[in-house]
Amino acid sequence: MITSISWKNVWRNKSRSMIVIGAVTLGTLSGVFVAGMMKGWVDQRIHSAIHTEVSHIKMQHPEYLNNEEIKYTIPNYSEIENYLNNSENVKAWTKHTKIMAMAATSRGNTGVMLKGINPDEEKRVSDLYTNIVKGGGNYFESEFKNPIVISEKTADQLRLINYQITDNLIDTLKLLKVKDHTIESLASIKDKRFITEKKFKSALEEILHKNEIRVHGPVIMQMAKHYKVKSKIVFTFSGSNGEMSYQSFRVVGVYKTANTMFDQMNAFVIADDLAKVAGFEPNKYHEINMIINEESVDIKDFSQTLAEKFSETNVMTWKELAPDAGMMADFMQVYYYIIMGVIFFALAFGIINTMLMAILERIKELGMLMAIGMNKKRVFNMIMLETVFLTLTGSVVGMILGAITIGITGRVGLNFSSVQEGFEAFGWSALVYPSIELSFFFGVTLMVIAIGILASIIPARKALKLNPVEAIRME
């Protein structure tokens, strides 16, 4: 009966209740959405940290961490190989040879870490092969001698990207119903090659109006981009004998991940090719990366097992190798609740105010209830339930709307391309797919109930202080 009265009391002054419910709905919706967006970001960062950059567990020579010299290869490799092949806890693993090298083309140069890999084995551990850019070749599928896959960033530094207005591009713009004036202006620089993005941009600025660039700029930039696949890059490095060596590799693929730092550092070649030119001995590798069967074993536990078993090797988990992502994984759950907590704390003041007004309006009735035998505990419960219902109604609607919003944006993604460069410099994707866990909604519901109870204390205390006789007489 008290529950029913409390619920009915919520709807006594519909417009006032709707204002509070509306505020709680908006607060919950924005909190859920921000949490969903953050989670989407963090999940993407963690996924890319594990599946593109560092894997679940990495094993190296203990000294290699401090000094990336090629002599520090993994000790007892054969034993480890045998163990990993027979362990049910390992889903897939791969090994790399690594060497720091100076890359040069006729137009540019940059330093990179050459990673010698076995492409088929690598695909089971890293999803880098899915990050080959459009028009940027493929992942070691072309039949060339000494193939190499480099990042778009490296390609840019080595001036292996051209910008050119082609017939194809003009046809596409016509299909997109771009104005004739814009197309005519672009035709004036047709087939002219620009070797840097900067030069191409200034050429566009000369022939196009600001508005045209704002609207069509991104499409033109993307379509005018041509990767000089099949180009040769010459690498200079110090081989295992300590002498400087030179070797050319031919670009077969250009990749791009959400992490500019990773892209800038890493270029991939076939392990055998690298072994030949650098003079690596068989079964000598600098790192082993593995993906763990997470259902059967905890990553940290398994890394400890490996560390104990192969004490001469350094074993690190992804949380240690990508500490930013590791910290996010541990902290974000708390962070989402902090966001919600701050929102609800602010809303609580509005709820208290509304409930105080509701109590003041009902003094006579409360006096009557106490007179006819409703004890203080029941009066308190009635007001508390009313506050919880008021808050919960708004937050349930907010959570439903939040879930729908996350469902839609989670499918199409949110594009932060205007700040892309800044995001990617930290390894964060500019295209976010918000996501949320069901448990978060349970957490929020509990939080709302707690806030409702807390917010009811002041109004309920006010009601409990009433003297029934005086309250009934009040007009």
Binding site: M1, I5, K8, M368, G373, M374, N375, K376
Partner: protein, 231 residues
Amino acid sequence: MKVIEIENLNKIYKESEIEVHAVNGVTLDFEEGEFAAIVGPSGSGKTTLLNMIGGLDDPTSGEVIVGGSSMSKLKGAELTDFRLHNIGFVFQSYNLIPVLTAKENTEFVMRLQGLSAKVCETRSEELLNIVGLGERMNARPNKLSGGQQQRVAVARALASKPKFVLADEPTANLDSKSTETLLEIMEKLNREENITFIFSTHDARVVKKARRVITLEDGKILSDVTKNGGE
């Protein structure tokens, strides 16, 4: 059998350093089945006396004994519980719960007593039929006239099967026809079910119906007259 025994009851208010003797040495008994009216001019102390009989106000001195137990010994939750199980209240301005229907308002006290939903439903229907609102059971207070609301209040007061019903100016807001109907219902309940009614009133119509009239003046009993067979 005595339902209420009042012994030398006093209530003194302090109004800006001046002591007001609202009830002054009242000693009274009420027998089961009485239909009594406490009358007197404004400020004579009738409402204060009624509030002390109902356990809503503490006497400065003296004692109210209901069914053999002294109310002055009860405090807080015990007193609330005592009211719930022993006293029915009818207020001047009906004081029904606006979000509940007539039937739910009647059931409310029984639910507080912890009775089952089935028992509450049967008794509230029975009571609303007695007060002539069998057809309006599902109407909310704002859809009922003042007289009808006060009849629901009477049904609610009786729902807890109290030892007596206290009615503070129950007809003050009613027209003469509604007053007549209400009084007839209460009188019928009193005669047929032997329910004790004690009113505080100004209303001559109530006084006319009462079988015992206690007149107060300045907090003291001026007269206590029991009529033969009422009227």
